[in-house]
Symmetry: C2
Subunit: 105 residues, 2 copies
């Protein structure tokens, strides 16, 4: 468990789509946010082994707090409203290693 992590920051965006009325991340801009994060991380040259990986995931089961994203191995959970929030998570947390307290859940 003391191994160096394969990814320094491994980021999972919940992209789950629900149809039965319960809130879901897919209805709140999750896909656009994930695509934005993926391309911005690539532009910054931060993608790859030892660096950052942006992934889609199935339901993270925090629907009422959504849209949600979790960053491992730290285990930091965030919500967000739009790509401005995603940029703040990228610039502060993924680049500088600082938790964005205002978006943390």
């Amino acid at each position: 468990m003391a191994d160096k992590p394969y990814y320094k920051h491994h980021v999972f965006f919940c992209l789950n789509q629900r149809d039965e009325g319960r809130p879901c991340c897919a209805d709140r801009g999750a896909q656009i946010a994930q695509e934005h994060a993926k391309s911005r991380i690539k532009e910054l040259g931060l993608s790859g082994q030892g660096k950052v990986r942006i992934n889609k995931s199935g339901c993270l089961d925090r629907c009422e707090d959504g849209p949600v994203v979790v960053v491992y191995p730290e285990g930091t959970w965030y919500t967000y409203v739009d790509t401005h929030d995603i940029d703040e998570i990228i610039d502060e947390h993924l680049v500088k290693g600082k938790i964005v307290e205002r978006l943390k859940i």
Copy 2:
């Protein structure tokens, strides 16, 4: 970062399907493995906040080592051949907290 993790073990199965010839987890039994893990964790009463979450994810970009699964916050990566291997990961790692060295990548 010292918060108690929302999930004690958060498990992501790569379920990516590739069509261009590169090896991919979806061609190697990933969906059956993920469904098996999800239902077995439920049967064991281990699913939920503070316990275990089994998720699907997009491409984890370790295709040549696939099929792969990663367990966070530990950041332990495994490969597997079939549901017997998945059961060993569940019984040893997720239940007892012991890394399954023979499956680790």
